[in-house]
């Protein structure tokens, strides 16, 4: 027993030394350059190799599919091709062949065909439910999780896949976890220290420095490659930055290139610790759960924040929930009612390297972060759009839709009016009532019209 102890101590010493070496490499080669915003080029090389490998894999799979025709092709196209006619057009067409001379209006039994066809089309494929699950890839990117119909194709492909698993779980994952821990600890310690200083320009400058360096470290922790476009439109103090929401990582992406005041609910646990220390060094807007229900209180706090021109621009995600980055869903009008200049930002992730979407129904935060850290990389484009303000005669909802369209257009995303809240809630009855009203006017509208106009 005694002879074992020195051996064990020796083993512990070796482990400790290895750990120190590991840590210095990580800090020296990754953390420090990240903090200074310098890139040593490792990520670039990694991405280039990755792109080449995935291209090769795609070709192999396509070749394999040609050889075995029963393999279903992975197509990102829809299942069906829809007609885009309006209710009036479609029902009009249906009625045209009807023997009775209708001249518009009045009911025929074939009207039901329209609703029936639309209903079945929506059962097969609809615009909304697909936004709450990850986007299907055009070709497999060698991750098990995106494996839709993988059948064995070739030895080489399987070996590359196996190698990928090893690299991602045994090399990249520990590295990324280390970076994340370093980054977040630095955030908490740094902001607490800065928080001890009296208010001054120096404090603000230091606070910005701590925040940005932390987010840069975190970005490295995800092998994030971000391309920023139109930096001249960067949000300024006293403004509100709005962006489409795909995941919590959006914050890391945005904060890598600027400092923002975050808005959100107060959490407990680790998040709470981070929130409390962040707010010591510069004002963020954290709401208690009870406060969030009071829309006026929320609006007031935000208004006060942007009125103070020394405070950082607020960062808000008006969709209110994570969407899968193929579309932009309804923007809640709250942020567009408080005045101030809106700085829209469009974020588009490249799903080939890693799916950034957080499906909160399927994964909790921890398993989501693990998935992120075992992806190949996070590659995305970010566009700063020119600032927008509410125009005369435009109400908050119209303004919100205008901003949403601009973001959707820039990011190449589908512009939807549906509420992201449909992820969890039922659709409002009023939409059905609209449909019923529209149809009613097709049956009797003409009669009413004639009645009011009188004989011609």
């Amino acid at each position: 027993c005694h002879r074992l102890l020195p051996k064990m101590e020796g083993a512990w010493e070796i482990a400790f030394v290895l750990f120190q070496v590991w840590l210095s490499i990580v800090v020296g080669l990754i953390v420090l350059p990240a903090m200074f915003g310098v890139s040593l080029g490792f990520t670039d090389i990694y991405i280039k190799v990755l792109v080449k490998t995935l291209e090769w894999a795609t070709l192999r799979i396509q070749r394999g599919q040609k050889e075995q025709p029963t393999l279903p092709s992975q197509s990102a196209n829809g299942i069906i091709e829809k007609d885009d006619g309006s209710m009036e057009e479609e029902i009009g067409e249906l009625r045209r062949s009807h023997p009775k001379n209708l001249a518009g209006g009045d009911f025929t039994m074939c009207d039901a065909f329209y609703f029936c066809k639309k209903g079945i089309e929506n059962i097969v494929e609809d615009q909304v439910t697909q936004r709450f699950t990850s986007e299907e890839l055009a070709s497999w990117n060698l991750l098990t999780r995106t494996n839709n119909n993988f059948r064995y194709i070739s030895v080489r492909l399987t070996i590359i896949w196996g190698l990928g698993v090893f690299i991602r779980y045994c090399i990249l994952l520990p590295l990324r976890i280390t970076l994340a821990v370093i980054g977040l600890s630095w955030l908490v310690i740094g902001t607490t220290l800065v928080g001890l200083l009296p208010s001054s320009n120096a404090k603000n400058w230091l606070s910005d420095l701590v925040h940005i360096t932390c987010y840069r470290i975190c970005a490295r922790g995800l092998s994030a490659t971000i391309r920023y476009h139109n930096k001249e439109n960067r949000p300024k103090k006293g403004g509100i930055c709005v962006a489409n929401h795909t995941s919590p990582i959006d914050i890391v992406i945005l904060a890598n290139d600027g400092c923002y005041a975050m808005v959100g609910q107060v959490h407990g646990g680790l998040m709470g610790v981070i929130q409390r220390s962040m707010v010591r060094s510069c004002p963020h807007v954290w709401f208690e759960r009870s406060e969030m229900k009071d829309r006026h209180a929320v609006a007031k706090r935000l208004k006060d924040h942007i009125a103070d021109k020394t405070k950082l621009p607020i960062l808000i995600f008006p969709e209110g929930t994570c969407i899968n980055n193929t579309s932009v869903m309804m923007f809640k009008k709250g942020s567009f009612e408080i005045g101030g200049t809106i700085y829209p930002v469009a974020i588009k992730y490249d799903p080939q390297f890693g799916d950034a979407f957080w499906n909160s129904a399927k994964n909790n935060m921890v398993s989501y972060l693990l998935r992120m850290m075992t992806s190949w990389a996070i590659v995305c484009n970010m566009w700063y759009l020119p600032p927008m303000t509410r125009q005369d005669g435009e109400d908050a909802v119209q303004f919100a839709n205008r901003v949403k369209s601009a973001i959707a257009h820039q990011g190449g995303l589908v512009d939807l009016s549906w509420d992201g809240g449909l992820k969890r809630e039922k659709v409002k009855e009023s939409f059905k009532e609209e449909q019923q009203k529209m149809y009613s006017s097709m049956i009797v509208g003409l009669d009413c019209h004639e009645a009011s106009e009188g004989p011609v």
Partner: protein, 195 residues
């Protein structure tokens, strides 16, 4: 995401469904993915709530009737076979029907079967007759609160009067077919499935 979904569908099942419905292999696997994504309870069958979760269907005035068409009499769950059988009605009509199984009669997507599907939307109690009451109920679903009872009543009366040839104040399937004989049912009750 449907990544494991296709592995739950066996080749024999796919072949059977192919024979019965006429869908292609890849269409069946894609529709299975869709079925699986709608099946929130992951029990291999869809309930009415699963369908109601599709917002565009929930706001369809005839949404409930369409959903009902998937469920056999008295049942609350529909499995993938049943799902595909119902969807098969909406396949476009082709001239060379490879799937015509001489023992089972007409293919599911024939003009007659498409018309019968629509007939069933109106025929609430499935007694092969559309009564005045049933017609009124369906009309009420389609128009909501926007038309008065009297007006709706007269619309229903007019419709039955035009269609009813045997004087029983109900619309039978053959009367239904006669009234709609000029309507392009093949096109209007078909969906263009890709590949």
């Amino acid at each position: 995401m449907g990544s494991r979904a296709s592995s739950l569908l066996r080749e024999e099942d796919i072949e059977e469904i192919k024979k019965q419905t006429g869908f292609s292999h890849s269409q069946i696997t894609r529709l299975y993915s869709r079925f699986h994504s709608l099946d929130k309870g992951e029990n291999g069958a869809l309930s009415r709530e699963d369908f109601q979760r599709i917002p565009e269907l929930a706001i369809n005035p005839l949404g409930d009737r369409i959903i009902n068409a998937f469920f056999p009499e008295g049942e609350d769950q529909v499995n993938f076979r049943g799902f595909m059988r119902t969807l098969a009605h909406f396949r476009p009509v082709e001239d060379n029907e490879k799937n015509k199984d001489p023992t089972s009669g007409e293919p599911l997507n024939s003009r007659t079967n498409k018309l019968f599907f629509a007939f069933r939307l109106y025929d609430l109690d499935r007694d092969d007759k559309i009564s005045r009451d049933e017609l009124l109920q369906v009309l009420r679903m389609m128009v909501g609160v926007n038309i008065s009872d009297e007006q709706l009543g007269s619309i229903a009366d007019r419709t039955i009067q035009e269609a009813d040839t045997n004087g029983d104040m109900c619309i039978s399937f053959s009367e239904f077919t006669k009234v709609l004989e000029k309507v392009d049912v093949e096109q209007k009750m078909s969906i263009r499935f890709l590949h």
